[in-house]
């Protein structure tokens, strides 16, 4: 039953998203109601699906049985909690979005409809990823989540900055998606998460580890791929609350949780996670204190707190999975709520800069309560769910030694400092921001709901501990370190402006733009190399092909002299005559000065070849050659006739070449081809394959072995060939149109 509930969590939002997109714009109320209904159903079903946690209930339908692929869901602790959280945050974001969008997207109903459709589709995709039983299905949903994410970040597509941010997010996370696909392929189609025996072959562990780290770090906006997340803050606030705190960036952590049990013993994996986590915590500590805007601060804090999770997964290995999962839940509740607060402040004051905000404590008291509780949760203050969860992370670090414990404590202190900055600046600083409009109850209730959930789970942690399999142990040393971190964070309040200025000076070091620019520079270098190689000069390509053929043949002949043929089979008089004709025709092509003569000579060479097959007991092959040769000759004549009418392009005048070059290249390539052909004909294969094909053709009940090979035994090759054939026609049509336009 739990598995069927999981199917509902995936399918209902997807279907709802498609339906919302199909509804007319004037039915906006219906679209909104549909979105809320779908989100509520998904939440109820996700709650129900948690019942399957203990048994790991699985549902699978064969997809491509030949490859061992199936479609299905698997309800385990990580998947169920993940999907539950996504459903809860999604519902909160959608409730909040009603009044928020009414103001921010006023008069743009098509964007509002896109918003609801994309949010629903996104929720379904992420739930599908959460319940995915294997890496390939995870990849499918991972990429499905990327498309609505792109649409949502770029919702304000008049704004060039929004378009840029959306494209960057798509490129970075898309590159990670390709890495994940490679992981799925390396793990094999029958690999299942949660399996015990199916550990990847040891020689594949290193590439799997590296690729999975790239995939997880790009999706979770981790160092050094984090630059896309602060940019993505151009998205409307409900999008940030849903995608950039709970759902999209969490997919990377989900991947880490899924693969940790299999890669526990791989040093590269553990060290990579630690490095990514440490880098992310460092850049976030500075970035969040330097960020000039509310949402930018939260984006960096998300980078840093996901950094905690990568760090802990690296330090503690798979044994830390329960702690990682528990903190993931705590963080998602807190951070999505904080995004809602940030959106409400901007909604009320039309300001997003922290420096321009202040004095809101009296005028937005409800929001102050929500902000304080949520920030306390994210910082790990006692009585919130963040406390127990963070203690769990700290215990893992402390278990690894004093240095990791101190590093983690330092990161926590910075987190406390920037979270205090988030609350202190807008609510308490002396700058007075005027209230333009009041964010109403429909906006406040989701934020308070999330903070209440954080409080309830903090006071009664049993359900979370049970579900995540996480059992915190009270330890005075952890409590001491946490207290120290919080105290340092609180103390920073005294010197906040100085810290902000210091952090702002270091901003360009941590914003990740350098990594992105380096990647772009690398791409440009590759592109310029490709342009140099693809010069567009056909003779150059032919020369490269000819030289490569000759060089390869000589290499093979030198490496394996035994393959070089000795004696030629006897040649009959008829064969010799036909061969002489072929050679004469070929020579004529080489020496002819007129195109038509070359074409005719080529046709003669081809027909002579057909005659060779005819006298060698292969009349059907001869027939095919005659047909093809005829068609080719007609095409050559037509092409030559057209070439005459196209004026030579002056800029592409061929550079002067020594006279011996072309004959030398052509001669050596021809000689190499000749040697290869002789070697192929005279070397007796160890096991002739012809008899096998004859036998198999007879068994099929067919009589024509050529057709059987083309259609049945090598059908995929044939399919590839006809595709290439079709592509070549496309090229000819394109060129013919270009020249028709150019001469007109």
């Amino acid at each position: 039953m739990a598995a069927w509930a999981a199917v509902i969590v995936v399918v209902v939002p997807f279907a709802g998203g498609l339906a919302a997109r199909a509804l007319p714009l004037r039915a906006m109320r219906a679209i909104r109601a549909l979105a809320l209904a779908c989100a509520a159903i998904a939440l109820a079903a996700a709650l129900f699906a948690c019942g399957g946690i203990g048994t790991n209930e699985t549902l699978a339908v064969p997809w491509i049985p030949a490859w061992g692929l199936s479609i299905g869901v698997r309800v385990d602790a990580a998947g169920a909690l993940f999907a539950l959280l996504v459903a809860a945050v999604g519902l909160a974001a959608l409730v909040y979005a009603g009044p928020y969008l009414a103001h921010h997207l006023h008069g743009r109903p098509e964007r509002e409809r896109t918003f609801y459709a994309a949010m629903l589709a996104f929720g379904g995709a992420v739930a599908g990823a959460a319940y995915a039983p294997g890496p390939l299905l995870l990849y499918v949903f991972w990429e499905l989540a990327g498309i609505p994410s792109y649409l949502l970040i770029g919702l304000d597509h008049d704004d060039p900055e929004s378009r840029f941010a959306a494209r960057r997010a798509l490129i970075v996370t898309g590159a990670g998606g390709i890495a994940l696909l490679a992981v799925a392929i390396l793990l094999g189609p029958s690999f299942r998460f949660g399996a015990t025996g199916a550990i990847p072959p040891p020689e594949r562990a290193a590439p799997i580890a590296v690729l999975a780290l790239v995939a997880a770090a790009t999706k979770s906006a981790q160092f050094p791929f984090h630059a896309w997340l602060p940019r993505a803050m151009t998205a409307p606030t409900p999008v940030s609350a849903f995608l950039h705190s709970a759902a999209l960036v969490a997919l990377g952590v989900l991947l880490v949780l899924r693969l940790s049990p299999f890669l526990d013993g791989v040093l590269l994996w553990r060290a990579g996670l630690v490095a990514i986590g440490a880098g992310s915590m460092a850049v976030a500590s500075v970035g969040a204190l330097a960020a000039p805007r509310l949402k930018g601060l939260l984006a960096f804090s998300t980078i840093g707190q996901y950094g905690y999770l990568f760090w802990t997964a690296g330090v503690g290995g798979a044994a830390a999975n329960g702690a990682v999962l528990a903190f993931f839940v705590a963080h998602a509740l807190a951070k999505s709520g904080l995004f809602l607060v940030a959106g409400a402040i901007t909604h009320a004051t039309d300001r997003a800069d922290l420096a321009a905000l202040g004095g809101l404590a009296r005028r937005m008291p409800g929001w102050l309560v929500a902000a304080a509780m949520l920030a306390a949760t994210a910082a790990g203050v006692p009585a919130t769910v963040g406390f127990a969860a963070k203690e769990g992370l700290l215990a893992v670090s402390r278990g690894a030694g004093p240095l990791p414990a101190l590093a983690f404590t330092a990161a926590s202190a910075f987190a406390a400092a920037y979270l205090i900055r988030f609350v202190a600046r807008p609510f308490f600083s002396a700058t007075r921001a005027d209230i333009a409009r009041r964010p109403g109850w429909p906006m406040l209730v989701p934020a308070l709901g999330l903070s209440a959930a954080a409080l309830v789970l903090g006071l009664f942690p049993a359900p979370l501990e049970l579900a995540a399999g996480f059992h915190p142990t009270a330890d005075w040393r952890d409590a001491l370190l946490t207290a120290a971190a919080l105290a340092m964070g609180a103390a920073s309040l005294l010197v906040l402006p100085r810290i902000e200025r210091a952090a702002a000076r270091m901003r360009s070091w941590v914003d990740g733009e350098a990594a992105f620019d380096a990647a772009r520079g690398g791409g440009r270098a590759v592109a310029s190399m490709a342009i140099r190689l693809q010069s567009g000069d056909l003779r150059r390509y032919i020369a490269v092909t000819g030289i490569a053929t000759a060089a390869l043949t000589v290499t093979i002949a030198l490496a394996e002299p035994a393959r070089v043929p000795g004696a030629l089979p006897p040649v009959s008089v008829a064969e010799a005559a036909v061969l002489a004709l072929t050679v004469a025709a070929a020579l004529m092509i080489a020496v002819s000065r007129r195109r038509v003569i070359a074409i005719v000579a080529q046709a003669a060479s081809g027909y002579a070849f057909a005659a060779l097959f005819a006298v060698s007991n292969a009349p059907d092959v001869a027939l095919v050659i005659v047909h093809v040769e005829t068609l080719a000759t007609v095409l050559f004549v037509l092409a030559a006739a057209r070439l005459r009418r196209i004026p030579a392009l002056p800029s592409r005048a061929p550079p002067a070449q020594p006279r011996w070059r072309t004959p030398l290249i052509a001669g050596s390539a021809g000689l190499a081809g000749f040697l290869l052909a002789i070697a192929a004909l005279t070397a007796a294969p160890r096991r002739p394959i012809a008899s096998h094909y004859f036998e198999a053709t007879r068994q099929m009940g067919a009589h024509d072995v050529v057709a059987a090979i083309l259609v049945s035994f090598r059908g995929l090759d044939t399919f590839g060939e006809i595709t290439v054939f079709a592509l070549s026609a496309t090229a000819v049509v394109a060129f013919s149109r270009i020249y028709a336009r150019g001469t007109a």
């Binding site: 037509l638 067919a702 083309l710 059908g715």
Partner: protein
């Protein structure tokens, strides 16, 4: 354009079409298959271009566009590969079935035949496309 040339071109096209049909239908039994069928039929059409010129042939073949033939061919080829995949034997592993026709014996059906039809459509469509575009007059006012 002599009457003899016209008659010859028309007869050749009809004959080429018949031969092409036989090559596709009897691909498994006799020499010849979808590929030769496509080339032979295209040769028949090419003779039309030689005799009548590109302008006239275009009007005669307006019904089925060449691009559509190629697309249909690729789609048919892809579709003919799916039953094998579905039955767990792999893409393009051909599946056969006997359709009993009572007193007329049985009809031997195979996705291999469908694949031959696909090859024919692509080869014929591409060849005629090449002929058409290379034969067309690109000069100003010409039919390009």
């Amino acid at each position: 354009m002599s009457p003899l040339a016209i008659r010859t071109a028309q007869l050749t096209l009809a004959f080429a079409a018949l031969v092409a049909l036989s090559h596709v239908v009897f691909a498994e039994s006799w020499p010849g298959d979808g590929f030769t069928a496509g080339v032979i039929a295209a040769l028949g059409v090419t003779l039309q271009y030689v005799v009548f010129g590109p302008g006239r042939v275009v009007t005669r073949f307006r019904g089925a566009t060449r691009a559509r033939l190629v697309t249909m061919g690729l789609a048919t080829g892809f579709a003919s590969g799916m039953p094998g995949l579905w039955l767990g034997r792999g893409f393009l592993a051909h599946v056969t079935a006997e359709l009993p026709l009572g007193p007329f014996g049985a009809l031997h059906l195979s996705t291999a035949l469908l694949f031959d039809v696909a090859i024919f459509l692509v080869v014929f469509g591409v060849s005629t496309t090449l002929v058409h575009h290379l034969a067309a007059d690109p000069s100003p006012g010409g039919r390009g």
